[in-house]
Symmetry: C2
Subunit: 289 residues, 2 copies
């Protein structure tokens, strides 16, 4: 296997990072992907910095041991609190979700935000990672960060629309409408599952930035720049030379493979991935810490 | 220190077990208590049996290393899935919350239930521990178990009353009203925090059994039977004999001491204990696994 055939590692505290997985799969159909959900210790967003760093480093070390070529930290809490520490132990590029989300909101693309609302877990909001990244990008941007802890369990329970989700979102965001934001950053990978409810609460004038697709674009750009994109044609040729097994390589050549690993309850993860994100995971591995 | 001065260990996945702590403190004011909340890995109720057993054994081993005389597993999920495994490593009596709650509901006291609704976490309900314990106690009891996973995050967020809590409880319990239960067992130590909302949803005819007080009564009975109740008078005498330090022993003699240990975020635990349960914890220790 050539270096470029190595997988992209994607990691989240649980299920939410699958929104990033889905975006990467869509943008880079030929890449091999390995997803890790730390379901034994989910959620991260209510825990302390020390604990988030310790858990994140353990998961990152596991994915690095699988010979990945790029690591996407698809968890806003881990990206906010542990990115530097993960980079400290990684010999491959590491992408978080904060910077791509901020780039998507401010500059870069067609519309640039002036008044930004960032919603996330308590740990992400307390870290002030988004506020600092926004300020670094454009000093004139006005931003407010709001912790919405109940939205993760609501998404995990599949209560993404309906009156309970609407009331919870209203309780968090209703009092902020008077600040006339032009953009909201969904600063938690679970929140895209509640996108319609959040958008309805803020009104039609507010652009919703989902960092999942932004992170996927960032991953693609990183691989392009480093010359690390997988070229299925190369593997096809290699497969032919191998004789036995060549036929199977030929069939799989154009499409990347998916691997899913969790630290607990694989059957539950499998069912929720299908129910909430229409992802068919196939067999799921378990790695306990 | 005499053997009877040893502490009672009380353990929960997080905050919920403080309802048991409070009941034990009320019933046994002279006992020394040590409470452990596994806040780095909370919640347990959404996780697999293997993981709940592994975490519970680690916490139990820690409390046993503190030379306790009795261990109260104040977490329904751990009581349902890991009680035998905890007893396997313990050299002191171990009390769970399932059996006391069932004894409170069926027989033993004045009113005996005929039609029981048990509500709890997904893991507790899937274990069928309550159904089996009820059947063992009285074969004629009709029971239904219902998982209400959203009630833990609602309690942790402090949303114990109001329209969101009412709608969530209604969503879980509304369809069950037609079964005409006479008793509901709160099979999760978080649920007493939502007692009024749950009671309102089921109607005034339904008796609410809170296993916290039942578990505390069970702890008292266990210590009485084994002759292990703390006798402050003994320590007072011992204190006098000591000279230096005797005065302080004298002051503290009649009242037991509290010690709180968590695996993460002590400040958050401290604030929530005060806000939700009016417990002043004082300084909290941190033990990481």
């Amino acid at each position: 296997m050539s270096y470029n055939d190595r997988a992209i590692g994607i990691f989240d505290s649980g299920l939410g990072g699958l929104t990033v997985f889905k975006a990467v799969r869509k943008l880079l159909p030929e890449e091999n992907l390995i997803y890790f959900g730390d379901t034994a210790r989910v959620p991260y967003g209510t825990k302390s910095k020390e604990t988030v760093i310790a858990f994140s480093k353990e998961v990152a070390a596991y994915l690095l041991s699988k010979d990945i070529k790029l690591l996407v930290v698809a968890c806003n809490t881990a990206s906010s609190l542990a990115l530097a520490e993960i980079r400290g132990i990684a010999d491959v590029p590491v992408i978080g979700v904060i910077e791509p989300g901020v780039n998507e909101a401010v500059g870069g693309r067609a519309v640039s935000a002036k008044r930004v609302l960032v919603i996330g877990t308590t740990a992400t909001v307390n870290s002030r990672a988004y506020a600092l990244a926004l300020k670094k990008k454009d000093k004139r941007v006005f931003s407010v960060e709001k912790a919405c802890p109940m939205l993760v369990p609501l998404a995990e329970e599949g209560w993404c629309s309906g009156p309970i989700a609407a009331l919870a979102v209203e309780k968090y965001l209703g009092p902020l409408r008077r600040k006339h934001f032009d953009t909201v950053i969904l600063g938690c990978t679970h929140y895209p599952l509640l996108k319609k409810t959040i958008s309805a609460a803020l009104g039609p004038g507010v652009r919703v930035v989902d960092s999942a697709m932004a992170a996927a674009r960032s991953a693609k750009a990183e691989l392009e720049t480093a010359g690390l994109l997988r070229d299925p044609a190369v593997e096809r040729t290699a497969g032919r030379g191998k004789g036995i097994g060549g036929a199977s390589n030929l069939r799989q050549a154009g499409k990347g493979e998916n691997e899913f690993v969790v630290s607990d309850a694989p059957e539950k993860f499998k069912a929720l991935a299908l129910k909430l994100l229409k992802i068919r995971t196939g067999q799921i591995m378990v790695k306990r810490f």
